[in-house]
């Protein structure tokens, strides 16, 4: 009886302890989730989860308070833990910002319910509501901010897909509010930056990016001067420039103005304008338009020639015109530059990981130039300068590759001009510019203001490709719950905006761009594929030439037979038959070559699969069997010794 009670007691006690333990477990975790924040060990190579020094600089230099409103509809939790986790991350990051800002940043959080005043506030703050269900109710997930002078800015929707860029997006928001007066960027271009009739005049994504930081003023075709408050001049694919404007730009540079100039041998993006724009401008015009300035800066370009490169060529699918077969071929005009193709010593390029260019030109220092070029983006020595006429009309990547001859030269695709520049007009303003002026007094004033040499070092960055700014070369637009979200695939926009920021001496966000972005391909397999394709193409060419030659011989012999009426000798007939057989053999061989080359990659993949799935289990299995045998032998020996 007593035993039973004691046992029962013990059981009740045990269950009570278990119950308490579970309560303790729930409390501990609830506590840890609210109390412990931002204590984390970041093991990623690029320290993606650690606040960068750029953000810290922006926060520590805030002079005026900034109020942030964080909107998060709790209903998002129902979608799944990922979006809720992303919201947690935003919340923590904002707390960290608040902590580092010395009280300059204040944060309020809202959970906007459908048809509430919070929802009205969210909408008026510029948040994008996502349709949540059939009822038309919307859910919100974004941040808005205001500074002491009531300037406003917002991130309309914090897409989890953009989570690697979260810090950049938030810091940009704060930096914009801290410096509401946006510096003026004068943009001269003939490219469809503001969209075309084919895309309903949707501006290029890069323009949206640029407008987040700068007041962009487009220079129209008839402009003769730069806007007065211009801080940075961007010349991006201008095909004709009025003399007055060219002179104004020259004087802007000589007076220490900041310039980002693109000199592209062939602007492929012009084709986007469609047939209404008339014919594509011939190669080289974009370079020729600013060549006087380039020369004055001590720089030359190979007009109408682009840098072809084999190491970084983009692989494209292309139907071989001779066989009609779709082949993968390295298109040496389009390059994907990665890793050590960027200068690590210049802030503009140090963080870059991937830049995509199409038919880019190169910059060289002119003979006897007093300035020098500091490379920012460059190619490997497996490069060649080729005429852009080769690609301006119906480019043939295979033919291009055949004519490609590596020159063992490294070409600068983007560079900074170092030193004091001279004016392109050493003798003062050109006559036609003076004549165009209204009166003599204005002409005299212009003459008096003329400067033929700079007093200070130049602030000029040159880039050889303007197509790099077009969406298709650096971003994918994804539809996320009805919203268009840009996901960068290359650092082109980072480079562009960094260059402008850097020219005007602002460094805060420069180091932040390019973070959170990494593409790590299987280099070995890609290299093998590329090598196999090249081998196949060479062999293919050889065999195709042989097939063509045989075809011609057969045709010639048959023609002779028809025209002369002379019946082919049996020797000739057998020759034709032999040729036919040989032709069939050659075709067969071609197929075999293709198969055998593909087999290299396939066999590597097979080996990798087998090695990873079966190698370790097999070794373990064999080991287990061996151990079992050893044990059995030992046991039988033991039995023998014991028995005898």
């Amino acid at each position: 009886m007593w035993d039973r009670i004691r046992n029962a007691d013990r059981q009740v006690l045990a269950w009570a302890t278990i119950g308490l333990a579970i309560v303790f477990f729930l409390t501990l975790n609830a506590l840890s989730n609210t109390v412990l924040t931002s204590t984390r060990l970041d093991l990623t190579e690029d320290r993606l989860f650690t606040l960068s020094s750029g953000t810290r600089d922006v926060l520590s230099t805030l002079e005026e308070p900034i109020d942030l409103r964080f909107y998060y509809s709790q209903r998002f939790d129902e979608i799944g833990p990922n979006i809720a986790r992303h919201a947690d991350r935003v919340r923590e990051l904002l707390d960290e910002y608040e902590r580092l800002s010395n009280g300059m940043i204040r944060i309020e959080e809202f959970d906007p319910q459908p048809f509430s005043t919070e929802e009205d506030l969210a909408v008026s703050d510029g948040l994008q509501g996502l349709p949540f269900d059939q009822s038309g109710a919307r859910a919100y997930f974004g941040v808005s901010g205001a500074n002491s002078t009531d300037d406003q800015d917002a991130i309309g929707y914090l897409a989890p897909e953009r989570s690697p860029f979260l810090e950049y997006d938030l810091t940009r928001l704060i930096s914009n509010l801290a410096e509401p007066e946006k510096p003026v960027v004068a943009l001269l271009t003939d490219l469809p930056f503001q969209g075309t009739q084919f895309d309903n005049f949707t501006p290029w994504l890069i323009l949206d990016g640029l407008r987040q930081f700068f007041d962009v003023k487009f220079l129209d075709k008839d402009a003769t001067a730069l806007p007065e408050d211009t801080e940075v001049l961007v010349i991006a694919g201008a095909h004709t420039i009025k003399d007055e404007l060219l002179y104004a730009m020259d004087q802007f540079t000589v007076n220490g103005g900041q310039v980002l100039a693109f000199a592209d041998p062939f602007a492929e993006t012009m084709a986007m304008l469609g047939p209404t724009a008339g014919q594509l401008p011939p190669p080289g015009v974009g370079q020729a338009a600013i060549e006087p300035l380039l020369n004055a800066w001590g720089v030359t370009v190979a007009r109408g020639e682009f840098v072809a490169n084999l190491d970084d060529a983009v692989r494209v699918g292309f139907p071989n015109p001779e066989t009609g077969q779709q082949v993968a071929v390295d298109y040496v005009a389009w390059l994907t530059l990665q890793g050590d193709r960027f200068s690590k010593t210049d802030a503009v390029s140090a963080q870059l990981q991937r830049i995509v260019v199409s038919t880019a030109g190169a910059f060289m220092s002119a003979e006897g130039a007093e300035t020098r070029l500091e490379p920012l983006i460059y190619t490997t020595p497996t490069s060649d300068l080729m005429s852009a006429f080769e690609v301006s009309q119906q480019p043939n990547p295979i033919a291009l590759l055949d004519r490609f001859e590596p020159q063992d030269t490294v070409y600068n695709l983007a560079a900074r001009v170092i030193g004091k520049v001279k004016s392109a007009y050493p003798d003062g303003p050109p006559e036609n510019v003076l004549e165009a002026l209204e009166d003599d007094a204005a002409a005299e004033a212009l003459r008096a203001a003329h400067k033929s040499e700079a007093d200070t070092d130049a602030n000029i960055i040159l880039v050889g490709d303007v197509d790099m700014l077009a969406n298709q070369n650096w971003a994918q637009v994804q539809d996320v719950a009805g919203e268009q979200v840009a996901i960068p695939t290359a650092n082109n926009a980072d480079f562009f905006i960094n260059a402008i920021d850097n020219l005007r001496g602002s460094q805060g966000l420069v180091g932040l761009r390019g973070r959170g972005f990494s593409i790590r391909p299987f280099e070995v397999i890609e290299e093998m594929r590329s090598e196999a394709d090249n081998k196949f193409r060479n062999k293919e060419q050889e065999l195709l030439a042989r097939i063509a030659e045989m075809g011609e011989t057969i045709e010639r012999l048959q023609r002779e037979e028809q025209t002369t009426g002379a019946i082919l000798t049996s020797q000739q007939q057998s020759e034709i038959d032999n040729f036919r057989l040989e032709m069939l053999d050659s075709r067969q061989e071609l197929r075999n070559v293709q198969r055998s080359l593909r087999e290299d990659v396939e066999s590597l993949e097979r080996r990798v699969r087998v090695f990873n799935i079966w190698a370790a289990p097999l070794v373990i299995a064999v080991l287990a069997i061996l151990l079992a045998i050893v044990r059995r032998i030992r046991r039988s020996r033991y039995h023998r010794t014991v028995l005898h």
Binding site: N7, R10, Q11, L13, A14, W15, T17, I18, A21, I22, F25, L26, L28, N29, A30, S32, N33, L36, T39, R40, L41, D42, L43, T44, E45, D46, L48, F49, Q74, D77, E78, I79, G80, P81, N82, R85, S518, I519, R520, P521, F522, E523, V524, I525, E526, E605, V608, R609, F611, N612, I613, W614, A615, A616, P617, I620, A621, L623, A628, R631
Partner: protein, 244 residues
């Protein structure tokens, strides 16, 4: 501590004298590899990371870890060796911890034997090895969590099959607690804050975060508290069943 160590060593060496351990390791390795290559399309993705390798670990553990954990106590109970074990000059807690540690080290060995994947990814490209290390740590912690729960369930019954099924079910609830199917169950009758705290108790969410390359102290608190509490409950169950 010494006693824990002695128990753990005895248990661990016992693993490798039975064929079961080898069968387990072989199945784990072959499945992990197979899922990565055939379902995860690792080669076709062309990315030098092990994301698709780790993504299947929670699901593999869901039935492999209860298979390891089911025998921890149920077997002792069935064969009657538990009586002998409990008369040894060690406390129940020490035995519980020792048994768990042995099983956890065993799971660690199985996990470490997937190193050919790590070699391969480093040969084919340049992966972020920090992220891979974090994911391995996360995977091992998750295995520990599953194991502690399985050991706990195993102490409840003599029957290993029942222990396996119950442990799998319990692990499933813990794994999926951040997912809507479990959440909607609670949402119907509990306050929002409770639903939120349940979602934080998900193996999947905590593991996903670690496998991205960042080890948060809250993830550590979560995994170690699951292990600690499960082992504590395990001890209480063994104590309660003493002499029953």
């Amino acid at each position: 501590m010494l006693n824990v160590w002695i128990v753990a060593r005895r248990e661990l060496s016992a693993y490798f004298t039975s064929p079961l351990a080898y069968v387990f390791i072989v199945i784990f390795l072959a499945l992990a590899g197979g899922l990565t290559f055939f379902f995860g399309q690792w080669l076709e993705r062309g990315q030098a990371d092990l994301q698709v390798f780790f993504i299947y670990h929670p699901y593999l553990y869901l039935f492999l870890i209860p298979a390891v954990g089911m025998r921890l106590w149920a077997e002792e109970r069935k064969s009657g060796t538990i009586e002998f074990l409990l008369t040894l000059p060690v406390t129940t807690g020490q035995i519980v911890i020792g048994k768990f540690l042995a099983a956890w080290v065993f799971a660690g060995i199985a996990l470490a034997l997937t190193f050919p994947m790590w070699i391969t990814v480093n040969m084919l490209g340049q992966p972020d090895n920090g992220v891979i290390l974090a994911a391995y740590i996360g995977s091992w912690l998750m295995a520990g969590g599953f194991l502690a729960l399985s050991a706990c369930v195993s102490a409840l019954t003599k029957n290993q099959v029942i222990a396996f099924v119950l442990a799998s079910a319990l692990c499933f609830v813990f794994m999926m607690s951040g997912v809507e199917i479990i959440q909607s169950f609670f949402r119907a009758w509990t306050p929002q804050t409770f639903v939120e705290s349940v979602s934080e108790l998900s193996f999947l969410t905590n593991f996903n975060e670690v496998s991205q390359g960042v080890i948060d102290i809250r993830d550590l608190v979560f995994f170690f508290s699951v292990i600690g509490i499960a082992l504590f409950v395990n001890t209480a169950i063994v104590e309660a069943k003493k002499g029953v």
